[in-house]
């Protein structure tokens, strides 16, 4: 099976919010990890590989089901397609089901999942996405055109800001005129239910580097491109996109055998551009999805996903 290696550069066009889980804190700090940069130990912001993969899975699932006329799924199949499923019992090896799933669902074959009581291994190996900064000089490759290496003079801590948000209790403000009389009277006597909260974010124009290796078929590579094509319609990383966070551009470069980099896919201002290989595998994937939809019993496909008895030819 061919091995494809990609270096991706995300350039933030808006602040990025990707916080560590800390329910006790009013100010949510950026997610950091401890890593080794050459011989130095650093604590650096990192965008989790699990978050990236989860995003691809969501987008790829949407793409797939939209191509199958917005197919509706029962809960178990829905969970498998959108989140990778979970194990329910002692593990078994069901070779024919694994073969069928890898055949009919290149997306699941690529990203893996748990079907009933069987784990289906995915085919990707990746890194977290790290900011291009002084603390990652030995991690980020030195030869990537889209990267502005001037940023390596700065610590990532100089690429962050804090922002406070206020949630006002509108019943205590001018909008209270829209309350009915009884509620307005009651509202006056109550303490305002308001909230002040803050987040730490990465500033716009920060660049994140990410490395991905996939050992997969062309159809599965097409499934990966489909995830990114769907994501290109709303290219946001992290949370709080409703408040204006997370918009970014992406340049994905394919590393070739002689260590040179050739463009594979770019998303600039929400516009997707595919290099010949990316276009070819995506077209192949699209045709494949159409063929399956035209020639396959969808109820059997759903049974396959649910871990029930199924009847399909391979």
């Amino acid at each position: 099976m061919p091995v494809y290696q990609f270096n991706s550069v995300y350039t933030l066009k808006a602040p990025l919010s990707h916080q560590a889980v800390d329910p006790n804190s009013v100010v949510k700090k950026l997610n950091t990890v401890t890593l080794r940069n050459g011989s130095e130990i650093e604590q650096v912001f990192a965008y989790s590989g699990n978050a990236l993969r989860g995003g691809w899975r969501d987008q790829g699932a949407k793409y797939l089901l939209n191509h199958w006329d917005h197919l509706k799924l029962p809960q178990k199949a829905f969970n498998l397609i959108f989140t990778g499923g979970n194990l329910s019992g002692n593990q078994v090896v069901d070779v024919s089901r694994a073969q069928a799933i890898r055949h009919y669902f290149p997306l699941l074959s690529l990203l893996g999942g748990a079907i009933g009581n069987q784990i289906l291994a995915g085919k990707i190996t990746q890194t977290f996405a790290y900011p291009v900064c002084a603390e990652t000089t030995a991690i980020v490759p030195a030869n990537l055109d889209p990267i502005d290496y001037q940023a390596q003079k700065l610590s990532w801590r100089r690429m962050t800001e804090d922002k406070q948000f206020i949630r006002l209790d509108d019943s205590k403000q001018t909008l209270s005129t829209y309350l009915d009389k009884t509620t307005a009277k009651k509202a006056k006597s109550e303490l305002p239910a308001q909230m002040l909260y803050g987040i730490e974010y990465l500033i716009p124009n920060t660049q994140l580097w990410h490395n991905l290796e996939v050992d997969c078929t062309e159809l599965e590579l097409g499934a990966l491109v489909s995830c990114l094509a769907e994501w290109a319609q709303a290219p946001y990383l992290g949370g709080m996109s409703a408040q204006g966070f997370g918009l970014c551009d992406l340049t994905m470069l394919q590393e070739t055998d002689d260590d040179s980099q050739t463009p594979f896919l770019t998303i600039t201002g929400g516009k997707l551009q595919l290099a010949p290989l990316a276009k070819q595998v995506k077209d192949q994937y699209d045709t494949y999805l159409k063929d399956i939809y035209a020639n396959t019993d969808m109820t059997q496909l759903i049974k396959l996903l649910e871990g029930k008895k199924w009847q399909l030819s391979l």
Binding site: Q75, A98, Q99
Partner: protein, 224 residues
Amino acid sequence: MATEPLKITAHLVDGRINSADGLLSFASIIYYAWFKRWYPEKVLGTLKLDDLLIGLPLPKDQHGLYQASVGFYQQYAQTTEYWNSEPDWERGHTYLDKDKGKINPSVGVQRAYHTAETIRVISDPVFYCRGKIKKIPQYLNYVKALGKKGSVGWGRVKSWSVEPIAEDWSLWSPKHGLMRPWPTKYQAELGHDVSDYFVDKTAIKPPSWQHRNQTLCYIPDFIK
């Protein structure tokens, strides 16, 4: 061609591996690579093999144990990181086949997870074995990550280097002492005092998850 003593180094991208016990068995690494090379369908779950003769490019000792050490490294930090999985709240109304009902993220098929993992920040781990210098790199090309969950981003290997060395350090070395888990029942055969080593039940050969491959062993001091 005869085997020779080798020193192998895994050059990590960011020095972070996901491993609870920190033991990185070189025999297990080669075992995985062997399947990736000859029977990738087995790794994918699409092929069932019974009574398979596995021919790893590592010689065995008189007990049938591979002559390969665990990874030795310096550990700079040990942290806990989490990965999350939660129901896809946003798309249920579009792609679920029911018009009503509740999704329970605490139990059942849409259970949410917040899973802790032990992450070690380490130097490039070094392994020792007996093997053929031409063959070992061919297998290592299939190994892209060390430890658990390379698909999430932990343990990514940038490159491997393999070099011949003068002495065989696969079992014992003057620098580190014991080099791989050694069954307590074979203590007398070792010819060294191992009474100070930690004793635990662990795998003596791959696949390490199989109960029949696990026994009480002296554990090497693999963290410098």
